[in-house]
């Protein structure tokens, strides 16, 4: 527990329940800017859905024009649209770049409101076990930041601890803030 005025903040608590079972992003630091870059493997798994969706929609069109089987065309097209849309929704978070820009003095990502870099107090590494109902459970890790107002914001969330630790150290160095490891033993 950390105390900030009358506010108690549990730095061990995870911010996101779920997380990917692969390395989703790496941190790139260039002069005055640090930003997250999605990995190719992460993008490829999202593209699978878009490709399948597009294929099924094309197949539906072919079936309709070739044999006029409207029911099959609707069935294939419906599945294609659902899978393709799902793929697009999956890929969007990977395309939204989170960045720490010293020239503007701002942290920007697409889901949270901008934070002034001067208001970032510290970075924390947290761990969790993602429980899957129909698959293997797996460990996942978060890099989170704490602001002066007590707000906690997730920066990175994936299951490659060595890469996350290296990126966290790089970012802490870039921002000149404290980095702490809050990984705990999780007993299921």
């Amino acid at each position: 527990m950390n105390e900030a005025g009358n506010l108690y903040i549990d730095l061990q608590k995870n911010l996101i329940k779920d997380g990917p079972k692969f390395l989703s992003h790496t941190l790139i630091v260039k002069e005055h800017k640090a930003y997250l870059k999605p990995t190719i493997s992460a993008m490829l798994f999202c593209v699978v859905y878009i490709v399948i969706g597009f294929f099924l929609i094309s197949l539906a069109s072919y079936v309709y024009y070739d044999s006029a089987k409207l029911d099959l065309a609707i069935f294939l097209g419906g599945f294609g649209i659902a899978i393709g849309t799902f793929g697009v929704s999956l890929i969007q978070p990977f395309l939204k770049n989170a960045s720490f820009d010293k020239s503007t003095g701002l942290f920007e990502n697409s889901s949270d409101r901008n934070v002034k870099l001067a208001r970032i107090v510290s970075l924390q590494i947290n761990n969790k076990v993602v429980l899957r109902k129909q698959a293997l459970n797996y460990s996942c890790f978060e890099l989170n930041m704490l602001t002066k107002s007590g707000r906690r914001i997730n920066i990175i969330n994936h299951n490659n601890l060595p890469q996350l630790t290296a990126d966290a150290e790089k970012l802490a160095d870039f921002l000149q803030v404290e980095l702490s490891d809050h990984c705990r033993q999780i007993i299921l």
């Binding site: 699978v48 399948i52 899957r132």
Partner: protein
């Protein structure tokens, strides 16, 4: 263990060689040759295995598979040994599911509650076994097979109670943080406690091998095969286009099990229970719409159970089909459910056993009976019951369509979702068995996942035949090793049950109303 990996690779190579050697004209010819090659391959290389597992003894004009008697006997023994736990403790099971023994203030983040575990396991068991399996049972065993399915479901509740309790009790936390449990672990660890570590290890290895084969067969090829059969029935898609269904399903399965995408797994977990609701809803519509025929349907079921009219082997023939399909559907005694249930968060293993015993009841006694009523009411399944006419998923689909044409489309949707979710579940079971044999590691796990996806395509491409026999045999073979273990370890379960019940009555375990 490396030898087993090499053997599997060799099987795939041999199969590929057969396939490419096949001759045919055009796409249909190639696919027909491929189908024939795969069937021939399985017949040549796995026929002995199928014959061994389904070794039969002649009883009353029918060949009674010993494995079916093995499962039935075990379920009966567990029922008696645990004092008819499926009837005497059913109230307690429902209370556990309703959270009456869970402190509402102690719930942690990410906890898998008993109710969640039940819905998860149900969405894994309610699937093609209830749709295609019942269709196959009635096509060969007549309406009377339903009665034996119900009996098997009721007795199987005790088997499931026993195996799921042990699954939680002897589970382990792997270095990755993943919870691992199931027969592999209770056989090796439970037997080690009794000073029979060697036997336990041998049984665990045997179970793991059969579980891997079962995951490729019933948990994969059968699902893909029946998913495409449903498309063929509902939309007149030529059966040779199964390769397209297979490739699309394999790509989606690949993205889930190799990519580890959390979102698709979550979506599947959310959709599948609704598919079960859709299926039950459709069955209820058919039953209610034909309300006046329910009495006659039940008469046909009870008469058929004991006379076996029109069934090869008479009532014994009906009994065999009923028991086989019920086991395939509810998986009681097979050991697979113990793997899924071991991930629950509980300090009391027996609570998970009590929750799990509801599954065969809902799966077989309720849902399979509903399917059987739909088929019997539709009247498309008539004597002689030799499987020559409509069978499997097509018999069920045709029976639903008798009431409303739209049902075949809804059923197609449900079947594809069930097939997909069952493949994901069985990839999990298979992977657990694989990592038990070969250890955790990126290469070992990736090898399994790629082979698994390959079999999705094979399953959707080939016709019913030797492959389905193999699928059946592998799933039933799991029960050989599992049930031997359950016999040795059932005193542990009895002790757990007695302790839990005593603490509930003494007030040590609080009830939260």
């Amino acid at each position: 263990m490396k030898k087993i990996q090499q053997l599997l690779a060799l099987m795939m190579l041999a199969f590929s060689a057969n396939t490419f050697a096949a001759e045919g004209s055009g796409f249909s010819g190639v696919v027909a040759s491929l189908s024939s090659a795969v069937d021939g391959f399985f017949n040549d290389y796995t026929g002995w295995f199928v014959s061994l597992i389904f070794k039969s003894v002649p009883i009353g004009g029918a060949n009674f598979p010993i494995i079916v008697a093995w499962l039935l006997l075990a379920a009966t023994i567990f029922t008696v040994y645990f004092g008819f736990v499926q009837f005497t403790r059913v109230g307690m099971s429902i209370d556990i599911v309703r959270g009456k023994y869970t402190d509402p203030n102690s719930k942690d983040d990410g906890e898998v509650s008993h109710f969640q575990a039940l819905t998860t396991a149900l969405s894994g068991t309610v699937g093609l076994g209830n749709i295609a399996g019942v269709g196959a049972a009635l096509a060969i065993g007549g309406p009377g097979a339903t009665f034996w399915m119900i009996l098997c479901g009721l007795l199987g509740m005790a088997s499931k109670f026993c195996e799921c309790t042990l699954g939680v009790k002897y589970r382990t936390i792997l270095p990755s943080g993943a919870v691992s449990g199931g027969p592999m672990y209770y056989l090796s660890r439970g037997f080690a406690e009794k000073g029979m570590g060697g036997l336990g290890k041998a049984l665990a290895v045997g179970f793991a091998l059969m579980c891997i084969l079962g995951s490729f067969g019933g948990g994969n090829m059968f699902q893909a095969n029946q998913a495409h059969a449903m498309l063929t029935y509902a939309f007149d898609v030529p059966s040779e286009y199964g390769v397209i269904t297979g490739v699309v399903m394999a790509a989606l399965v690949f993205s889930v099990i190799v990519g580890g995408m959390p979102s698709i797994a979550s979506v599947t977990e959310k959709i599948v229970p609704w598919m079960a609701v859709l299926y039950v809803g459709m069955a209820l519509v058919v039953i209610v719409a034909n309300f006046e025929q329910i009495g006659a349907a039940f008469t046909a079921i009870f008469d058929g159970a004991f006379t076996g009219a029109g069934v090869v082997g008479g009532f014994i023939g009906a009994l065999i089909q009923g028991l086989k399909r019920a086991t395939f559907s509810n998986e009681a005694g097979v050991g697979s459910a113990a793997i899924a249930h071991s991930a629950v968060k509980t300090k009391e293993p027996v609570t998970e056993g009590l929750v799990s015993l509801l599954e065969p009841f809902i799966d077989t006694v309720v849902i399979c009976t509903m399917t059987a009523l739909v088929i019997t009411i539709a009247g498309l399944n008539s004597a002689p019951f030799d499987g020559a006419g409509l069978t499997g998923v097509t018999l069920t689909a045709a029976s639903f369509t008798e009431t409303a044409e739209i049902f075949k489309y809804l059923l197609a949707l449900a079947v594809i979702m069930f097939a997909f979710s069952t493949m994901i579940s069985w990839s999990y079971y298979g992977l657990k068995a694989w990592t038990y044999l070969f250890g955790e590691g990126v290469t070992a796990e990736l090898t399994f996942k790629i082979i698994f996806c390959f079999f999705v395509i094979v399953g959707a491409t080939i016709q019913f035949g030797a492959v389905i026999d193999f699928s059946d045999a592998a799933i039933f073979a799991m029960s050989i090793f599992n049930i031997i273990g359950l016999y040795f370890l059932m005193p542990v379960v009895k002790q757990e049950l007695a302790s839990f019940v005593a603490r509930v009555y003494s007030g040590e375990i609080k009830r939260f109303d």
